[in-house]
């Protein structure tokens, strides 16, 4: 019996090799990963644009050059035909897909139950709720929702991973957000731009932001992404641009650098 009692004594075993004194060895499971990429949304008076690159990464590996980040929400079939709302997700792609599918289901159910399509503002509030429901195990994504509001104006809502949201004129998200966002401040909201000759000192008048025409916005989106591709390794391959107007949703792809 004494030999059994010895178990409690915790003698050190005399191995020839050194023992690690650390506690339990464990290979922790981390349920998130970052799949890189960047997204961007800009609105105009009668349209909204959501764009994203199509590169998927894990670490320094490129998983695929064609994984879209912008999705049509509440369409009638698999292709998203008939949808009026668009969602972009960037961050952890598996969470992004799960979030997209939940919102898609919700918007479809709304249409079946109420016999009318869900408004963007209602969808925006619902998305916030979905994100907040997972407050303590969040969807690790930055979401941007776009569509046309009740007056037909472009509407854009941006979210943090736990559901804080805000309607904005423009927003960049993802890996290259810090590169793109100040460029957008300057070119879309005319931040730091003044009207020449309007006065000295405090009398100098700031240039007022006004809704930009569609072609200008398309140009800005492409410029923003070609710039981001140049300086961020996780951004590249293709640019997916989704344009929402009263006539429906148009989706176009442009090549970006593949290095």
């Amino acid at each position: 019996m004494t030999s059994l009692m010895d178990h409690q004594a915790r003698e050190t075993v005399g191995y020839s090799f050194s023992e690690s004194t650390a506690g339990v060895k464990q290979h922790g499971f981390y349920p998130y990963t970052d799949n890189g990429g960047s997204t961007l949304g800009i609105t105009g008076s009668d349209f909204a644009i959501l764009a994203g690159d199509t590169r998927s990464t894990s670490g320094y590996n490129i998983n695929s050059r064609m994984v879209p980040k912008v999705f049509k929400i509440g369409g009638d079939d698999e292709t998203g035909e008939g949808a009026t709302i668009v969602l972009s997700v960037v961050g952890f792609a598996a969470d992004g897909n799960a979030l997209k599918e939940r919102l898609d289901t919700v918007v479809k159910m709304y249409k079946y139950q109420h016999g009318k399509p869900m408004s963007v503002s209602a969808c925006a509030q619902r998305l916030s709720t979905i994100l907040y429901q997972k407050r303590f195990f969040p969807y690790y994504v930055h979401a941007i929702l776009a569509g046309l509001d009740e007056e037909g104006k472009g509407a854009l809502y941006s979210y943090d991973p736990v559901g804080s949201y805000e309607r904005e004129q423009c927003r960049a998200a993802g890996a290259a957000a810090s590169l793109i966002m100040p460029f957008l401040d300057n070119q879309v909201n005319f931040k730091n731009q003044y009207i020449p000759g309007s006065g000295e000192g405090h009398a100098l008048a700031a240039k007022k932001p006004e809704p930009l025409p569609l072609e200008t916005v398309k140009g800005l989106v492409r410029d923003a992404f070609t710039s981001a591709v140049e300086r961020h390794i996780e951004v590249g391959d293709n640019l997916q641009m989704v344009i929402i107007t009263k006539d429906g949703i148009e989706e176009v792809y442009h090549p970006l650098k593949k290095d």
């Binding site: 030999s3 059994l4 915790r10 506690g23 339990v24 499971f29 695929s64 792609a93 897909n97």
Partner: protein
């Protein structure tokens, strides 16, 4: 006679000292599900004109030990889809059982098994995502090959986190580093898959497996390869890598205790 079965088969305390119970975790969360044990290495796959090829080697490692050398890591589902498993082998066998029971269930239905590779991939990625969300992951990275709903060749990946992506050529694990660059050089992305023949695709995968055998220490020169076409699945599970040349090895210098 030692009357205490708990001490049978153990090194004697008076010789080796008492058993160190710190190896047995008695507090804290369950952790045995959060690391793989017996593992398979890379899976490689490529699309070609009219189908998809998928290949793995036949090794299941236990850490650095080459534990099982005839493990079949390509699993056939129905008659037009194949799943290639990398990662934990017991989790692979569990998922294989899931797929088997689903196949049987589908075949008992009036319409038969109509699930294609795309459906299968969706199902598997949701199983992965559900399990990772429960903090009880299935420690695998799989490639699913076959055809989609429109009858076009389909090749897609899913991993333990539920991350999914597809491309004309894919590889998991070490293959993502060593095989993908070879495949991207042989079949550039601007080249349509209609211009890739079955023979070229099979030869490319054999070349990839060879490079992996040269450089991946947890790999084997015995492999399985599956060619999925409209005519069915051609699965070979007992292949041997041919045409190896280890001449390059002589030029490798400067590692370990070697005196250069």
């Amino acid at each position: 006679m030692d009357h205490f079965p708990g001490t049978w088969g153990r090194p004697r305390n008076d010789v080796y000292g008492a058993y160190d119970p710190s190896y047995l975790q008695s507090t804290g969360p369950k952790t045995h599900t959060t690391s793989p044990a017996v593992t398979g290495t890379s899976v490689v796959g490529v699309k070609f004109n009219g189908g998809v090829v998928l290949a793995t080697d036949n090794l299941a490692s236990y850490g650095s030990l080459a534990r099982f050398t005839d493990t079949k890591r390509l699993r056939v589902f129905g008659n037009q889809a194949v799943v290639g498993f990398g990662g934990d082998v017991s989790d692979m066998q569990y998922m294989d059982r899931l797929l088997e029971s689903m196949d049987i269930r589908e075949n008992y239905s009036s319409h038969g098994n109509m699930l294609n590779a795309k459906n299968l991939h969706t199902y598997l990625s949701k199983v992965f995502y559900k399990r990772r969300s429960e903090f009880n992951p299935l420690w695998n990275h799989v490639l699913v090959a076959g055809f989609d709903g429109e009858g076009k060749p389909f090749l897609s990946s899913a991993d333990l986190l539920g991350t999914t992506f597809s491309a004309p050529h894919l590889a998991t694990g070490f293959g993502a580093h060593l095989a993908v660059p070879i495949l991207r050089r042989l079949f550039p992305e601007e080249k349509p898959i209609e211009e890739i023949s079955r023979e070229d695709a099979v030869d490319a995968l054999k070349q990839c497996l060879k490079v992996l055998f040269y450089r991946d220490a947890r790999s084997l020169d015995k492999y399985s390869i599956a060619v999925i076409t409209k005519d069915g699945i051609d699965l070979k599970e007992d292949e041997q890598l041919e045409g190896q040349s280890w001449a390059f090895a002589e030029r490798i210098k400067g590692y370990g205790a070697q005196a250069v």
